[in-house]
Symmetry: D3
Subunit: 254 residues, 6 copies
């Protein structure tokens, strides 16, 4: 009854609701794994590229490498942003998110089992409406799983090896108009007092917790509420990922 | 009858055939004009950004500016390419195509009529299978037309002004296995003896002719055949553009 | 009694102990505020530069700006690192920490009260032994307080204005050998299963929580333990800051 | 009679006339081949550097490499331009012309016959008055021929091998005041409605055709006229090159 | 008699002899002043560009600016060097010499008398055989004098103003095979134990003295010998400059 | 008596006096050699990093390498300077001084005796008050001596080998208010008519002489006075270095 009384969010959602999530596998023909992931109007293209060999500093150690690169198309946002390639340098935010994606995915990869192979997760934001980094991580996991399956089919990964030790999903939570909510879109994100991105395994453990007080500092009680929302949100995304992965693997021309 | 006798191209096309062309308008929510253009498996996202004002060197001259930026996503191609933003510099090919796109579109824009406004055409190749620059130009024209219509609706362009003086389309032609063909895909492009990109107005006049002998130099007779194929190909693309533009304009939230 | 039984940390500390903290104010002659802050062998020079005026994008809004720049001297670490100036680009980690410092300090600054003035916090790591970013934030707060006091003395800040709305301190916590500990030094940091940096106000509220599972993902119980340790650590650092600020302000030659 | 009636060009030339062309071989003491080429007041220094070995991506394939680099001295033009080295990036136009030079020369080089050797053609514009890229290609061919002869003398190329399969020359043509003309100088170039650069072999076949409508799009008839002019211009330049190459080869100190 | 006994230098010169010096004025058509200066086989093109206005940091101070930019063409030297524009950064040596050229010329310019005008001296080494920086300074002075005369003719400098307060020349001296010699060519320079570049006014006073022990450190006696040689060498160059400037000024098309 | 009559310098020194010089060894825990050197308020941290191996171009020649890198912290000076890492390029002055430091130290190192090892001298200016480059060289010598002693202890240098062939010190001299003075501080430096940096061996021979007329050109008599002052200043600094080196070597944890 009381819940009924609280006003809905600007787009009609309850505080704990995710936006509509769509995960389209095999969106690209060339990549070993590829996903167009959509969290509402946020649209990120995740491509997993599997290559034999590892960066120089890892050679001969019998271990693989997984890394991420994030970037936004110039007109992903409401007003056009300059291309980082034209500016000649990668911005701090782009660096930060790229590192977060790589770190998150490595948390569920057994690089020994991967062998001396490299997987790069390219996450390019085609359209941005809040939560691009969490959508990217959520989609990248699915692309990664496809790329590993593809490599196994091609005999590039040892038969019994299990490079994937679990699944990973991410969601943003925050305080908007004094209320904790899940999966903020841009209008919410830009007015949030606190903003937190949480990456969790499919089993419900934390991989990354990144919370920032945009306005006032937050207390432990609020922090707890946000962690609860994130836990539920990631669990729902994990289900979406599993559903997507139950579909047929793509057929690649070899 | 004789045509029947010549072997078909590797994908079953006749020499003068275009691949399947799809022009999807309003693929993005934020941009003033946006098109996902597909020439077979080549897929380019064209976003037209309209902004008031012009670059510093044009200020106060009462004239607008139209420019293009082209880039490929790292996994658009069969093997992953490094991001130009990470390399810290834009490659020669990217520069060249960006300049070509801008120049081609300015050929059908009356910058006086545009007023002191700027339109940037961002052409990002999501998937590459030959002909990315010609697909980009063909799609960018439609995005440009939409952005200009949108600006007129918003009162940003003078009432009677006609910034668009015509339409523009582009196609590649080349010599493959000793035979002149139109709209080469990647397998054809990579073995072509001669490769030519042609940009033409909707009225059939030439805006750009860029021909290169990859292998042997070509004679005037072959050049004439290529120009004929290009003329027909651009005419067919012009029809596709018109059909696309007859659909409803997008409704933007203002 | 049981606590007595648990083994001490490799340097003799209890799990909740900070290293020896030293805050030396006015270490530089030119800067408006400057602090050499030491957390054990970690040594960071924090300089606060106060300048009139704000970046272009803030002009005329009647509000000030506070930002941070972090960098490590090449031989701060055990093996020499290349200078970012020579590499021609700022690394992702440097970007990330610089942004964290600026964001943290802005959390306790009322930029309206600051007026159209800019304060840059330069945090240069002279020697690194773990916890450089948290030492930097803790020291930068003291340098910032001195710079604001200096500006007030010089009449650059309005008489009744209170740009500082609180104090800020930061500490790292983590899981080492399966046990939650506070203020990790480098040997601990490099073997930690989980690593968390926490920034808190002097009043005990959270400004930033950045936790990363380096090895296994962590559960909610462990997360709670880490937050407890961080809360106590930041409180102790707040006392150190207050003691340092009770000393005499430097006398600058005007 | 009718020709008499049409007005001469601003410098007294007939539409099909080249400017005075001078090709001075061996202008430098160190380079394996070097030419100062002048098309009227346009003055380009072309140096061919022969080095044993090839870029990494070509190693072990038994084939050589030929490439070009074009650049303008800052005061080659009427007003000083900034150096690209100081701007920290190479401009699009410079990239484009460098690529054109390399591609054009490779059209008449049998890289198998060259063996695993590299020739770089540096084309530096000392003074610019229109047609710098066509002068550069025309001069670079002569420098290339000298460098190959020099390498043969030194025994760096196999005895019977013929790396040069032909000669190459280039000229600009365009439409000025409604009339097709050959070898435009800067005053003509800057007012041309259409501008085309054509690279041809000594045997009269096309290697590159790059035409751009600066103003109005052009029709097939005009295109044909321009190609005729270019064919005649390149033939005349081929004669100049042959005359230059009949002089004595330089004597290099070994 | 004893001098007769000492062996000549490798090219037949006496220790105090300069190489053959040629100063060709007006080598370029566009620049306000331009000189091709040759010290033996060293060949530097010096262009003086006069522009109205000064860099931002000098605006409104009623004073002008003179600066220099030095660069070597890639094949100026015996083996090809990479272009700094392609490397994306200017090397230390290039920076150092550019700064030396600017500083040296400012020593004989009254920037107040110059008014708010800028003169850039571009010194591009077309061929290098030792002494490029001293040839550049010696030639740049003549180009500067011409540019100032040209500006006076055009009324860009106040009638009675005398921006030039003297003349400047430069020479290298060094210790080769244990003997002090003047104006080293590349074979001498590359084996010199000590290398010194000296810039002097036409009146014989020192502007720059830059001496470096390449091998053994040198004592005061040797330093004195080198300074004597440099004084005589600069005096001889001053005469060459005066002779060159007595020729007719160029006629520029206005 | 006459000396008594001449006015003292602005800080009470006689013309030949150095500022107070402090050399603190082992200021860092990680570096093989490290010195905090102070010339009055100028404070430079010199770290010597010894690494096995040499740059690629020296490999296999049985000879070592010594180089220097100089940089200023942004708030070393009275007003904050931008970081070179953020600007993306190293400035000319920084380049120039880095090269000077490396060259100076190589003058007293026998690189054959060093074996295939590299020593980098990082000289970071923590606070600048004139003479930063001479303080850097003077301190770097002590750090270098410590790094070599440390390498010998660890057996990284052959037993009888003597990589150090002497000692090196540096001082600035100049003409202030028409009078030659030694070791200029910033107020003197910024008003000096002539400024000279001199690097000398402990035995009193010259390694570098770099004099610049900031205002009027200087004559030979003045040059001689400056060289006398520099000789005395370097001798005094050599004594300070020896005293510092007589203290105990640091104990490093191996």
């Amino acid at each position: 009854m009381t819940e009924q009384a609280t006003p809905l969010r600007h787009d009609g959602r309850q505080p704990a609701d995710l936006r509509e999530v769509r995960i389209t596998r095999n969106w690209l023909d060339h990549a070993e794994g590829s996903v167009l992931v959509e969290f509402g109007r946020t649209r990120v293209l995740c491509a997993a590229s599997f290559t034999e060999g590892v960066p120089r500093w890892l050679k001969g150690k019998g271990t693989g490498w997984v890394t991420g690169e994030y970037e936004m198309l110039p007109r992903a946002t409401n007003t056009r942003g300059d291309r980082e390639s034209r500016k000649g340098k990668v911005g701090g935010r782009t660096h930060e998110i790229s590192r977060l994606i790589g770190r998150s995915l490595r948390a569920i990869v057994d690089t020994k089992a991967l062998g001396e192979n490299t997987i790069v997760l390219d996450c390019d934001v085609l359209q941005a409406d809040g939560g691009t980094r969490t959508a990217a991580i959520t989609g990248a996991y699915v692309a990664l799983a496809d790329a590993i399956a593809d490599a196994r089919t091609r005999g590039l990964i040892a038969q019994g090896a299990k490079p994937l030790t679990g699944s990973i999903a991410a969601v943003s939570v925050g305080v908007v108009d004094g209320r904790a909510v899940c999966d903020l879109d841009y209008p919410e994100d830009s007015t949030a007092q606190t903003d937190m991105n949480v990456v969790m395994t499919g089993e419900g453990a934390f991989v990354e917790v990144q919370g920032t007080a945009e306005g006032e500092a937050f207390d432990r009680g609020l922090l707890d509420q946000l962690l609860d929302l994130a836990t539920a949100g990631c669990a729902a995304l994990t289900v979406k990922q599993q559903e997507a992965l139950e579909g047929p693997a793509r057929e690649r021309e070899l």
